[in-house]
Symmetry: C2
Subunit: 517 residues, 2 copies
């Protein structure tokens, strides 16, 4: 059977289990589009901007536990998706970018769209390859998927010159099994057990797979027996939390708060997490947030078998049959009045549906969410991981593609939301069960705080012009309607609660603008 490079690529992706493609194609990808068109078992989801495409692929993989493909158009299309690829890389999300490029022989004519695609891909990819001939495309694709799937998850970028797509190929390639995670060191396990038995002040720092429910219970058992405390990094790919789950405390974003909280720990045993550090440097503040004398013991790095490490420590401690401390179902009191961050968090805790997926890009409006929603019904919590704002809407979109039957709640800061509101259109097209709550404080509030940290007390015209989002106010309900999504604007937490109930009761996307004082 005759086949071109693009057809061999699509068949290879499907064989490797990649059956969702988030896309925004261009001319050089038309043969790939034609090949996708022959395979209805590949689900193609259009984003109106590539930041939607890459952010949705991130959200999808976080929930599906396997990579989606993206389809991007040369250097600028990849560039548009770069910020959310940065977040995905920091989340250690498995993801396969297919980036179209000029035909191999056309590049040296320097046509207007000619760009250094490999150069742009490099900083946000763990694996980059440009197919050299149409016959190699299938093999390259199989390797790309394996690279993406290798633990803990990687960004693989395969560049597809147009002639490698349209020229003859010999067929699809079989899936390549990625290597197993690296084994855990017995010495590290025994050092961890020594610390846990020492009676000294010890924390477990849990990241990545350690925040998934089976592993969380292992950590909970270790904590029950040893008295250690459980922490997670400030930003995480996915945390399973709520009633019935083992709770972990996220390290606070503000440096001073983190320093104070961690001040007395003598050892931190990490499972799937790196050393916690300050998000930004500040004059006269440290970059590290662990006390100088604290020992950091990486029991399992992200490339190692995190579940095995937790199991080994649990067994060595004799904690297999301990009862992990699980969170009891407990809701905060119903708040009333103005929509403050704390009151909004209480509403969220109270209305959250069972098994919801929460996307948290609430930024300053979300500082109390972790604490206040602790005892809500069980749910998944997905965060902005790389600090590149504009991931919220796309993550929600992708998570809903992975889990179409689960309700998704987007907790969305307004400044960040304005980066990627086009995802609302995809939510409407795919009829997704996504409710977005916009925290409309109408400023880059985090930056106003940072101005104070820098010593500026009197904000002038130029600074205000860069930090303030009034003049004009953004009309979120109009924007949502423009992209085919219904919504409403509310100014009290009572109305917010009712609006959220309305949103969840419909099985379509819904947007609520919560105007904050």
């Amino acid at each position: 059977m005759s086949m071109n490079g693009a057809q061999s690529l699509v068949k290879t992706l499907l064989r490797a289990g990649v059956d969702v493609c988030f896309s925004n194609p261009g001319t050089s990808e038309m043969h790939f589009v034609a090949a996708l068109d022959e395979h209805p078992d590949m689900k193609c989801v259009l984003g109106l901007h590539e930041t939607i495409v890459t952010g949705a692929a991130d959200g999808y993989a976080r929930m599906a536990g396997k990579p989606a493909a993206t389809l991007l158009h040369l250097g600028p299309g990849l560039g548009n998706g770069l910020a959310n690829l940065h977040n995905a890389k920091r989340a250690r999300t498995p993801l396969v970018n297919i980036v179209g490029d000029h035909a191999t022989y056309h590049g040296h004519f320097d046509a207007p769209l000619t760009s250094d695609v490999e150069g742009i891909a490099g900083p946000v990819s763990d694996w980059v390859r440009s197919s050299k001939t149409s016959y190699r495309v299938a093999g390259d694709a199989a390797e790309a998927v394996a690279a993406a799937r290798q633990a803990p998850g990687h960004i693989a970028t395969l560049i597809l010159p147009a002639d490698c797509a349209w020229s003859a190929a010999s067929g699809a390639a079989d899936a390549i099994e990625p290597p197993h995670p690296l084994a855990v060191s017995a010495d590290a396990v025994s050092a961890a057990v020594d610390w846990l038995r020492s009676g000294r002040k010890v924390a477990l720092l849990l990241g990545d797979q350690a925040l998934m429910s089976g592993n969380l219970e292992l950590a909970g058992k270790i904590s029950a027996v040893s008295g250690c405390e459980l922490f997670a990094p400030t930003s995480n790919r996915r945390i399973m939390r709520g009633a019935g789950r083992v709770a972990v405390e996220r390290i606070a974003y503000p440096v001073d708060v983190a320093l104070e909280r961690l001040a007395n720990f003598e050892a931190v045993l990490s499972f799937g997490a790196d050393e916690p550090v300050a998000f930004f440097a500040y004059p006269d503040k440290p970059s590290r947030v662990l006390p100088e004398a604290c020992e950091l013991l990486p029991v399992a790095g992200v490339r190692q078998d995190i579940a095995a490490a937790l199991t080994a420590v649990c067994e060595a401690l004799g904690a297999e049959n301990a009862a992990p401390p699980v969170v009891e179902f407990a809701l905060p009191e119903a708040p009333s009045g103005a929509i403050t961050p704390d009151a909004a968090a209480a509403v969220v805790a109270r209305v959250l549906p069972e098994n919801a997926i929460v996307i948290d890009e609430a930024i300053t409006s979300g500082r109390s969410l972790d604490r206040i929603t602790r005892g809500a019904v069980a749910h998944d919590w997905l965060q902005i991981t790389g600090g590149a704002i504009g991931c919220g809407f796309p993550l929600a979109t992708g998570a809903s593609v992975a889990c179409p039957d689960r309700p998704v709640l987007g907790l969305q800061a307004d400044g960040s939301g304005a980066y990627s509101l086009q995802a609302l259109w995809t939510q409407a097209r795919e009829e997704q069960h996504v409710v977005t709550l916009i925290f409309a404080n109408r400023e880059y509030r985090i930056l106003k705080g940072e101005m104070r940290n820098v010593g500026v007390t009197q904000v002038g015209r130029n600074a205000l012009s860069m930090l303030d989002l009034r003049r004009p106010n953004i009309g979120w309900v109009d924007l949502a309607r423009g992209f085919g999504v219904s919504g409403e604007s509310v100014e009290t937490v009572e109305d917010l609660a009712a609006a959220l109930q309305r949103g969840f009761s419909e099985k379509r996307p819904y947007l609520i603008e919560a105007v904050m004082p």
Copy 2:
């Protein structure tokens, strides 16, 4: 007087004549924001996404003839602006990016926002530097502006680590004069004159500064005396055109049309333009659009003195006193009925105000604009130069900052417009006199044509899901309202004409959705 690096940077930019800063700052740029706040003579313009910031800086410089600064937040902020930097680089726009980065000592802690800023900047910059100490920031900034201003115009990216902004500096640096454009070769001029006197079929290919009015007249005189024809590349930074100007014909985008039009030329003499080539490669079509036997003679490259080259050829031909063929004021008939591309172009020609700035990102809806608007009142025409869609709204925003008293008309394809609609908010905030005409054909029409080129006649579910923009239709008037801009939707050219008149009569931004059959 004590000064920090950020303060020395702002003062240096102002000394070098850079007094507009398009920005979207983050935490690591707070000292720079504080320094900007001390200088009300620096105009700071906020974009809600960095593609607005870089695209507006491009539009500003195309009209102001000098660079603006941008203020971007680490690798992801730069990445978000990358596509429009690609366009700006292809337009040979002078532009100075200031990209904040982590403090020099904080980078190796690999905090979440750590990124390879230099690596991301490289593919879209002509000049990249990361300041090493606060004392060097002023000198680096002076060099960045000089690099940007060097003919024909360059992208200079200065990376500013946070501690280089907040630590002590010795003061501002003086402006550095960029080197003069390279001299024109006398041999090239005489070879050009030989061709022009040969009686053979010769074209001038005019790009860059050759498309500005004084130079266009020189080209017109050469044409009047020699009978040569005048062409411009398919995509251009800025063309001065309309009644009273010398007309140039843009080389058509479709390869077959370009090939046929250029088939009989024996020589192309270029001034500020590279060899014209196909935008994309296609199976069985050539990359070059000039006939094989045609000689391409670069009389002046973009780094050379284009005006001097045209003057020298004009004088050598004895054409100084020839009357250049200028376009007569002539409007098309008033069209009626449905909004086809031709009818819309006729309306545009008829309503265009004197001295308007037209931003052309109309893509397939704009194929006949060049021909039909030829005899409209004099105006400037700015195009998408690098094929990275999403430049239209931001270019209009930046052009209006440069020329607040001139009316701006954005001719905007809907698919491309969805990339950067956030610029509407900036237009509202700055109360800009920008009218946007959305060509709502509700699909990526160019790609449907390309699917046919690829041999696909029957478009299936997956292809349609990536090419079609219905389900749901985008509500452009709602989107505009959400960002504070008034507008209306029209379905006939009569209504379109009235809507455009309304838009131009107000001195505020206005958006018209033209629903096409």
